[in-house]
Amino acid sequence: MTVDLRLNVPRYASLPNIMKAKKKPIAEMTAQQLGVDVSPKVRVVKVEPPPQRAAGVKVPDVQTLVEKLHAEAKVI
């Protein structure tokens, strides 16, 4: 099950429980013991910053905005 972010309010661990958790044993096992293949199937070739959007212009009022959208950007 995957859940939506807003499904519920998480229940946080209480301080006594956090203290108790420190004493619990943690069993470690390898992927081999579990019989699964975890060798990567994807290799990262490179990582680069995305192309930056140039900041545009500020318009003084709505009239100018609509005119520019119509005449310059041709989107309305």
Binding site: D4, L5, R6, P40, K41, V42, R43, V44, V45, K46, V47, E48, P49, P50, R53, A55, G56, V57, K58, V59, D61, V62, Q63, L65, V66, K68, L69, H70, A73, V75, I76
Partner: protein, 318 residues
């Protein structure tokens, strides 16, 4: 010759737009290594959709049957894997929609394939195609190589042009034994809206915290522009608008011709969902809001005054 298999997405026998963008992506990928393209349509009563897709010059495998009527990941991913084997596909391309994200990992596991998700573009040559994908809320673009013989990729529909009709194709029925699913379809509640779908709209008008929950000016302008309505996370978290309007990293990724952000400050997570838009307009009271750094046109002002004014001005133009 290598074969690329495109997985179509359909609802009620009608192909979703994202399918044609996935096909467009497959055409770009095919140019890298000289591959041929085939497609698979899965569902019940999909012969019409399969016919339509074949007009794009591809061989279409039609997996048709009552057991595939509902888009359950278990049955549909089995059909994808079967079609990939039947086609001898080296690459499986699926649009990164909710449907594609659901079935791609399962299909990849069944094929023993590596998976590259949310791909924005291709690099490299020949059989060694590399995939460019966004990481960290779009703050970095990683180029990855999938090292398995079969590769499954989900592509971001907004980054690839839709394929055009042309060429001759054919439809082949494909018999697939559906696995007994462990989930059962109960019901489907569709939110009916007169507005275009958010991810497919030519214009999107979005509101943020600055609306204080009053979306009337947003909707007014959206109606004039025949636009879809979007929202920032703050709005959805506050319960002012439903989840499915959220634009951003955890919401929908949109890339319309025109994106109007009103009362949205422009958190990086929101920008990740709309940076690909062709023209961005920002209307915000705060002149320092980061949204202005990505906006083509910025207007510092009160959205409750600016949006109705804009709606009026647009009406006059039409």
């Amino acid at each position: 010759m290598a074969t690329i298999l495109v997985v179509a997405e359909q609802a009620n026998g009608k192909l979703k737009k994202a399918t044609f963008h996935a096909l467009g992506a497959a055409q770009q990928l095919a140019q890298k290594g000289g591959a041929q393209i085939q497609a698979v349509v899965i569902g019940q009563g999909v012969s019409g959709a399969a016919q339509e897709l074949s007009q794009y010059g591809v061989t279409v495998h039609a997996v048709d049957g009552p057991e595939f009527a509902r888009a359950l990941a278990e049955t549909h991913s089995a059909a994808v894997a079967a079609a990939a084997k039947a086609a001898g596909a080296s690459d499986v391309v699926i649009a990164a929609t909710a449907y594609g994200k659901d079935i791609a990992p399962r299909a990849a596991a069944k094929l023993g394939a590596g998976l590259a998700s949310d791909v924005l573009g291709f690099a490299g040559e020949g059989g060694k195609a590399w995939f460019k994908r966004a990481m960290w809320a779009g703050n970095a673009i990683a180029t990855v190589e999938v090292t398995t013989p079969v590769r499954v990729v989900t592509v971001r529909a907004t980054e690839f042009p839709a394929a055009q009709k042309g060429g001759s194709g054919s439809v082949q029925p494909l018999k697939v034994d559906a696995p007994q699913p462990k989930t059962r379809f109960v019901e489907f509640n569709e939110v009916k809206s007169a507005r275009p779908e958010l991810t497919e709209a030519r214009v999107v008008v979005s509101g943020g915290r600055g609306t204080k929950g009053d979306f009337k000016p947003i909707e007014q302008l959206a109606d004039v522009l025949n636009a879809a309505v979007g929202a920032s996370r703050a709005v959805v978290d506050a319960g002012w608008q439903p989840n499915d309007l959220q634009v951003g990293q955890t919401g929908k990724v949109v890339a319309p011709q025109l994106y109007v952000a009103a009362g949205i400050s422009g958190a990086i997570q929101h920008l990740a969902g709309m940076k690909g838009s062709k023209t961005i307009v920002a209307i915000n009271k705060d002149p320092e809001a980061p949204i202005f750094q990505v906006a083509d046109y910025g207007l510092v002002g009160d959205l409750f005054k600016a949006l109705p004014e804009m709606a009026e001005a647009v009406k006059k133009l039409q």
